[in-house]
């Protein structure tokens, strides 16, 4: 790291950059990460935040800018998102995307889950009503940006699908297999495309629920 412009508080360990500020030369040694862009051979900051420098395993140096606030996020292809089902019909389910990765969105984005993207195997035998009900909370992966209406989502992975669902009676159900969930009060079983959730994700989800 050679040049900092106007970086007055070098003594206080962290360096704060502002948009348009030159961070360093865009050489082989440095990689521009989140919050940066490259222009005229320099890595520049595009956020107001703290400059974070981390050495990569391959000995290159990753330069990032992290703003104190939550990052500006919108869903992008490949992201895992948390969504609430809003509408189900035989061909697709509509949902409202609530979180992208770990970050809670201030406002939901619309998503669509097509029948053929519900699971990876036996795609033809999927019945939407036996997979999702309105108000279910699902984990899904963003396949593409889709069209003007919505993002295209997929649950065709073991770890993806319904994580929180309420029985008809209104209690949160417990998964009893990858296609069924059961109400702990009435013992009624309902069909769902259940996500195989590893323990740490569950705790995460609970936190999120609490936050909401």
């Amino acid at each position: 790291m050679t040049s900092y412009e106007n970086s007055t508080n070098t003594e206080s360990k962290c360096i704060i950059s502002t948009p348009g500020q030159r961070l360093c030369l865009a050489e082989d040694k440095y990689i521009g990460g989140v919050g940066t862009y490259t222009r005229q051979g320099y890595i520049m900051s595009c956020l107001a935040g703290i400059v974070k420098i981390t050495a990569q395993p391959d000995k290159r140096i990753l330069v990032e800018v992290r703003s104190g606030k939550e990052q500006t996020v919108v869903p992008s292809a490949g992201d895992i998102v948390t969504a609430r089902i809003t509408q189900v019909n035989p061909r697709w389910a509509r949902c409202a995307i609530l979180c992208v990765k770990e970050m809670v969105l201030a406002e939901p984005f619309r998503g669509q889950l097509r029948k053929e993207d519900v699971r990876a195997t036996e795609k033809d035998r999927v019945e939407m009503y036996k997979c999702f009900r309105p108000n279910d909370i699902i984990l899904a992966r963003v396949l593409s940006l889709g069209d003007a209406h919505s993002y295209v989502l997929s649950t065709a992975e073991n770890e993806l699908g319904v994580v929180i669902a309420y029985s008809e009676e209104g209690t949160p159900m417990v998964p009893v297999g990858w296609q069924e969930m059961q109400c702990p009060k009435t013992y009624v079983k309902e069909m769902r495309k259940v996500a195989k959730v590893s323990p740490e994700i569950i705790s995460n989800e609970n936190n999120k629920e609490a936050a909401n």
């Binding site: 007055t8 948009p19 107001a48 703290i50 500006t72 940006l145 003007a148």
Partner: protein, 288 residues
């Protein structure tokens, strides 16, 4: 013009009493520029508010003025005061507005009491045009591809207008966007300059701003520029009045020089914002 029935409308024939003020109205309409210059500046080249021609008014910036918004900023440039709030990125609702790139939505509004003449609650023509100028300027600075299919809203409310509102709005909006951590290629600094036949006045007040008047014998104009200091690019440029290209070049130079002086001020304000945020985060962590 649709009338909002929920608001109290004044009678149509009402007009500002200031028009009745006894002034040399007739004289002012057709004064020569030499006289005009004398009105605005005394023999020692000092302006009415004790500034030199190339001095700007004191600048005051603050972020986080609106707690609900993603980012916000307040600017005070002399008596020109305005607030900017940034929301989003949120989903674009109308299908017809769909674009793969991110979009900006800007609203520029004068408070009804912000000018000498009362402003209407509805956006008037001038405000619409100012909104458009603001959007076009900020679009050049914001990394729109970071939020495809979504839009960021930028709202400007002018609380008090004492000249150069667009220039102040540009600086304020870029500060608000940066404090909302919306990725930007560069900050935008706004600045205005008034051209008198033989003199340039930086950062004009309302009285110093160019007004369309009759029979000026020489060139007279007003220029507002939005400048991205690190990229050395102009993202807004509005000129009204009569000038030669050479004069415009001179005006542009003065304005960009001023913008370069403002840049560190805005940067400092942003740094303080980030520091404050870090401090409060630290406290939260300690509490836990």
């Amino acid at each position: 013009m649709p009338v909002d029935s929920r608001r109290l409308q004044g009678p149509e024939s009402a007009f500002s009493y200031t028009l009745l003020e006894k002034k040399d109205a007739n004289a002012e309409e057709s004064i020569l520029s030499a006289d005009l210059q004398k009105m605005l500046i005394d023999s020692n080249h000092v302006r009415k508010d004790k500034r030199k021609p190339t001095d700007a008014r004191p600048l005051f910036l603050r972020t986080g003025i609106i707690s609900q918004a993603k980012g916000s900023a307040y600017i005070e440039q002399g008596n020109t005061k305005l607030v900017c709030g940034v929301y989003g990125p949120r989903e674009v609702q109308k299908k017809s507005d769909f674009r793969l790139n991110g979009q900006l939505f800007c609203e520029f509004k004068f408070a009804p009491f912000s000018c000498q003449k009362r402003r209407s609650h509805q956006q008037d023509n001038e405000e619409l045009v100012l909104s458009g100028l603001l959007r076009e300027a900020l679009e050049a600075a914001v990394c729109l591809h970071h939020f495809p299919k979504a839009q960021v809203e930028v709202n400007i409310m002018v609380i008090e207008n004492d000249g150069s509102p667009l220039a102040a709005a540009l600086t304020c909006a870029s500060l608000a966007l940066a404090s909302a951590s919306i990725p930007m290629y560069d900050l935008v600094i706004g600045a205005a300059v008034r051209q008198l036949p033989k003199l340039l006045l930086l950062d004009p007040t309302k009285d110093e701003e160019w007004q369309p008047k009759l029979n000026h014998d020489e060139n007279n104009s007003n220029l507002t520029v939005g400048f991205m200091p690190s990229m050395q690019q102009i993202c807004a440029y509005v000129h009204e009045g009569v000038s030669n290209p050479e004069e415009l070049e001179q005006m542009l130079k003065i304005v960009t020089e001023y913008c370069l002086k403002v840049q560190p001020v805005v940067q400092l304000c942003l740094k303080e914002t980030v520091e404050k945020m870090l401090a409060s985060e630290g406290e939260n962590n300690d509490a836990e």
